[in-house]
Amino acid sequence: MTSRPLPTGANPPPSDLPPGARRSHALENVSAYLRAHQELQVLDFGGINQPNLDFVTGLGHRIYGENLMLAFDYFFSQQEVASRQFAPERVEQFLDQTFDFEDQSCDAAFLWDTLQFLPPNIAQGVLGRLYRVLAPDSLLMAFFHPENSGPAAPHVCRILDDRNLQLTPRQHVRAIVPFSTRSIERFFQQFQSVKFFLTRENLQEVIARR
């Protein structure tokens, strides 16, 4: 296993970082993993953006992009969303359509803060499918906001370099599902290990190892 050298300007000085940028210990862990391996299949469920695409493909990996929240909005009717009644077969159909990968064929997943903006049973289903498509020892990264409940803005997360992220609130707010540290642990109980990093803004950064 050989680690890749940092590209020129991989970690610019803090003065060069755009507003909203901050250091992410979880990202540092994932970056080290991405640099240590070659030709990985990386999943980005926050809706792909150019910095993430450049970062991942720049390391020689493939990136699959999908906006999980938008996929959910397209698939389920307003009636289903309003009543919060999701028939099991409809949920299965949504998951089949969204996670069209062979078992254990993917190596890393960025979920960002999407899980918190999906109804709990859908989020649990998403995690179950991710467990299936991720290869053993692969990493999953997710964020959990400190908000208790009510509407909140999901964030666009851009990877600036190996350790810095830019988080920008999206225009439209959505219902947020509260998660405590204990509930996050339970949520990821299938996974081999779960690491928590609490940021200054009380954002829980989570890395789960499959």
């Binding site: 809706g47 150019q50 020689g60 493939r62 990136i63 992009g65 906006n67 996929a71």
Partner: protein
């Protein structure tokens, strides 16, 4: 005026066209065709074909000119040396291969470009993307895999060994027959 040269002053004092002499009035004007000039204009620009927004086409498109799709295409596009633009009203359902692909409308199918793929704001692409330079703007919807084509720089050629010219024995002064000592 600033740094106005004498030459400029002379030019501005001169009328743009010389005033016609009385004999010129009787002469018939000869119309000059602009055809030759237009022809050279066309040869200087790239040919672009367009599928208008009311058109629906089913089948394969293959060719050697740039193409703009504002209508609907159900089929593949193969323009290996050219650019494909899918306009805001354009929709393609099929695989696309081109030198450059610019999407403002929607594509459902895999994209492969030897150079650049640009998915603009509000465009929608569902399919895998393979290009040397993929660009996805914010607020574009993309679902699929992205793979970049790496153009490996040619390895620097090893320095050529110095050319050593060995003079032919017969050309050496001492070997010349007339210089030989008997």
């Amino acid at each position: 005026m600033w740094n106005r040269s004498k030459k400029d002053d002379e030019a501005s004092s001169r009328p743009a066209t010389p005033a016609p002499s009385p004999s010129d009035y009787g002469r018939e004007a000869i119309p000059t065709s602009s055809y030759a000039a237009r022809q050279s204009d066309f040869s200087g620009t790239r040919a672009v074909a367009t599928i208008g927004k009311s058109l629906i086409i089913k089948g394969l498109i293959r060719g050697q000119e740039d193409l703009v799709i504002d209508g609907r295409l159900e089929g593949d596009v193969d323009l290996p040396e050219n650019r494909l633009t899918v306009g805001v009203t354009g929709h393609v359902q099929g695989a696309v291969r081109a030198r450059e692909i610019v999407v403002l409308g929607s594509i459902q199918g895999n994209l492969e470009a030897s150079e650049r793929v640009e998915i603009k704001k509000n465009a929608k692409v569902i399919g895998d993307l393979k290009a040397q330079r993929p660009v996805i703007e914010d607020e574009a919807y993309f679902k699929g895999n992205v793979e970049t084509i790496r153009i490996d720089k040619p390895a620097p050629k090893p320095a050529a060994p110095p050319i050593v010219v060995e003079p032919q024995a017969s050309l050496l002064p001492d070997n010349k027959p007339e210089n030989r000592k008997g």
